[in-house]
Symmetry: C2
Subunit: 414 residues, 2 copies
């Protein structure tokens, strides 16, 4: 191995590193003369290098011991790379079509080598801002979410396997704490990191800090996030953790993975699509595209629901210990437990999705969907409508019985 | 250390063991000549030796690699002794008045040395069968439960401490699986281990296996048991895990401890008191005693509620990460979240308590409360009334708003 202790790589030292790591240099067919290395990390936390040679390519992601976008003032364990690699491998085994392959992991260097998602792959959020339609998106994301969540839950696992996984990912606690802070705490209190489109949203931000009923709901969601080890979740499944072309959908950036509530992943994805929807009014001529987003929201949940239940049916006599076959032994009781389970998961999805929306409007990390609206007043109008919907979902989630009702609620907000 | 590998002790080899372990022989003031050793284990799983000398005493509990009451046909990891010792120490630090002190732990021998709870301490269940009143019981048990559950939850812990504890106790998975099987599965299906007062309860047992609505509720409780790491719970807190005198209440037998839902402990204790109540009609002249049991049920919950909320108030500006002080920043929102939390915990308590009652009537392990009623028909009548209440609690738990309503429901069952 190249380096015996951690060092932050740059485009030059990475070359030395690659030369010394056979599993990486072999990906370039050992032809290192004409390779191009470029740092492209646009995320909040890590370095990402694209390495392209004439006979192969890959991506190197390195975790730094602090939050990149904030700097050394916000330390953050680089051990997160271990959990990202572990989750990439597990989710990749379960759903290889939608997760880039891991070529190499180096614990000392907090570094992952993985498949380069070559152009025309772009970050989904950028596609949503540009107004591109992705005909496979709902199908592929429902595939990814139904498979990874089902196959890492007690619907498929024995308790023994499950608790082994839970124990391992308890180690990713610093990333969980970061989520706790930025999603479930900071938006509801005064925090140095919070920001919003001021002065337009000053009163809205203050209203969140005064909304007692909302705080009760947020507390319940936070407990679920901290306590409920339901499946190995992605943990940060917004639209910048998905890379797409019209033919391909790939999920990246699993450093927040741990055993948590399934609804946190489904909610993150749908919540970010809803943000994209409300941002469209900041751009010109997007009526048809808004319809496509709404259809994608509805299709994603409906396909997810269908596929998840189908996996359950397929494996109902398997090793999974949640629903013992001899008890849930006829189609009527099976239908009843599935209905209860999916209804609860739907409500979790709405709650977590709403919390993820709120934090992107008044918290530390904003989204390009809104940030790319130059006119602040117009931007604030879009953000306010998104906030209104999020508050409704959070407080009234149990009143929604299916995704069509959510889509109607979105459409009704003016 | 005495023995370099595990061996099952008997009254003779235990003497050799004690001689070689200073922390034990010193408890006897090194006077080993006149000591008396007696195996008294009456539980399902382990060996328990009482060791009494003229100048000191202790108890030795040794875990065997199988379920004692069933034999080697039902293997069970002896590593459970590690978790029992760890939980005894943690709960003992939190609540020293009601947990026996640990003097010694030997991982190789799966053995714990602890304080001997000297006579007149008896197992609470035996006191309930005998009709003895314990004036401190509700106060002491509410003390134990409120403190151990509060101080091992995110109301007191940081996420970092919490996940460290969760990960450690994930190792006690075999004991969790045993509970999953005997509490949440076997009673609702045909199982070789199930038994009930036959033929009287044949139809009742069958009705449980056919009750779809009940099975839906049981599935939800089982998920909570498997997935929700809310606090370091005792895990087996029935009335045979409590030793009492009129002046002392001591909780023993923590081998099932893990991070699970708080309501599982509170429910186990209250559910077993309810079983004791329904058993009283099998004995003569117990009207006044039945009233005492009902008062104890009501007082235990009400005191638990009061003390738990008081601990929350006391530590609301502490390290606990569940409810950040800057968010839950005034008495009104604080009252709202406490109300929601305690209401949810109450409903969990009723659900888990009911599940624990059912399994004692139709499952593998029965309780002396009913077993000591010689007349099978009379016994079956008592058991049926307990079953009826348990089914009501399981299916309608959310309709109960306070413990007084539960007490009324108990009184209404004829
Ligand atoms: N496998 C990959 N192929 C192509 N580009 C990638 C790949 N992984 C990451 N990237 C690029 O790097 C950026 C940051 O990666 P990400 O894993 O999201 O890091 P962070 O955790 O810092 O957000 C992505 O937005 C994407 O543009
Ligand atoms: N510290 C103690 N002091 C006195 N008696 C005890 C003590 N611990 C256990 N016993 C006796 O041994 C019995 C079995 O102990 P317990 O811990 O419940 O074992 P098991 O796990 O096998 O049920 C108890 O019912 C009680 O009679
Ligand atoms: Mg990212
Ligand atoms: Mg697909
Ligand atoms: Mg990331
Ligand atoms: Mg016992
Ligand atoms: Mg025991």
């Amino acid at each position: 191995m190249a380096f015996s202790e951690f060092r932050t790589l740059d485009e030059t030292t990475l070359l030395d590193y690659i030369i010394s790591v056979p599993s990486l240099s072999s990906k370039l067919d050992h032809n290192l003369e004409d390779i191009k290395i470029k740092e492209v990390g646009d995320g909040n936390l890590n370095l990402v290098f694209i390495v392209i040679g004439s006979r192969g390519s890959f991506v190197i992601k390195q975790a730094l011991p602090y939050v990149r976008s904030i700097g050394e003032a916000w330390p953050m364990t680089k051990e997160r790379a271990y959990y990202e690699a572990a989750a990439l491998k597990t989710h990749g085994r379960i759903c290889p079509d939608h997760v880039p392959q891991v070529y190499h992991f180096d614990q000392t260097m907090s570094l992952i080598g993985m498949r380069y998602l070559e152009p025309p792959h772009i970050i989904l959020r950028k596609g949503l801002v540009a107004g591109f339609e992705y005909p496979l998106l709902a199908d592929d994301m429902s595939d990814y979410m139904s498979k990874t969540l089902f196959y890492t839950s007690l619907l498929y696992h024995s308790t023994t396997e499950h608790k082994r996984g839970v124990a391992e990912f308890c180690g990713n606690v610093e990333l969980c704490r970061l989520t706790e802070q930025v999603v479930f705490s900071d938006p509801y209190k005064v925090s140095e990191y919070n920001r919003w489109t001021s002065p337009y949203l000053d009163a809205d931000a203050e209203a969140l800090r005064e909304d007692k009923a909302l705080k009760v709901e947020v507390a319940e969601l936070k407990s679920k996030f901290c306590e409920r080890a339901q499946a190995l979740i992605h943990g940060d499944l917004h639209t910048s953790s998905v890379m797409v072309t019209r033919e391909s959908t790939q999920v990246i950036d699993l450093e927040f993975a741990f055993y948590g509530p399934m609804g946190f992943d489904v909610g993150a994805f749908l919540g970010n699509l809803i943000l994209a929807f409300f941002a469209q009014d900041g751009y010109a001529d997007r009526d048809a595209y808004k319809e496509w987003i709404l259809r994608t929201i509805q299709n994603t949940w409906e396909l997810f629901h269908k596929k998840f239940v189908a996996l359950w049916e397929q494996h109902k006599d398997g090793e999974g210990e949640a629903y013992v076959a001899a008890i849930y032994d006829n189609s009527e009781v099976q239908r009843l437990v599935q209905k209860r389970f999916m209804q609860d998961l739907f409500h979790d999805t709405l709650g977590f999705g709403a919390a993820k929306m709120i934090r992107r409007i008044v918290g530390v990390a904003h989204v390009e969907d809104f940030e790319s609206i130059a006119d602040a007043e117009k931007r604030a109008g879009c953000e306010r409508r998104a906030l209104e919907l999020a508050k409704l979902l959070l407080k009234e989630k149990k009143r929604f019985r299916d995704i069509a009702q959510v889509v109607s609620a979105i459409q009704q907000i003016q």
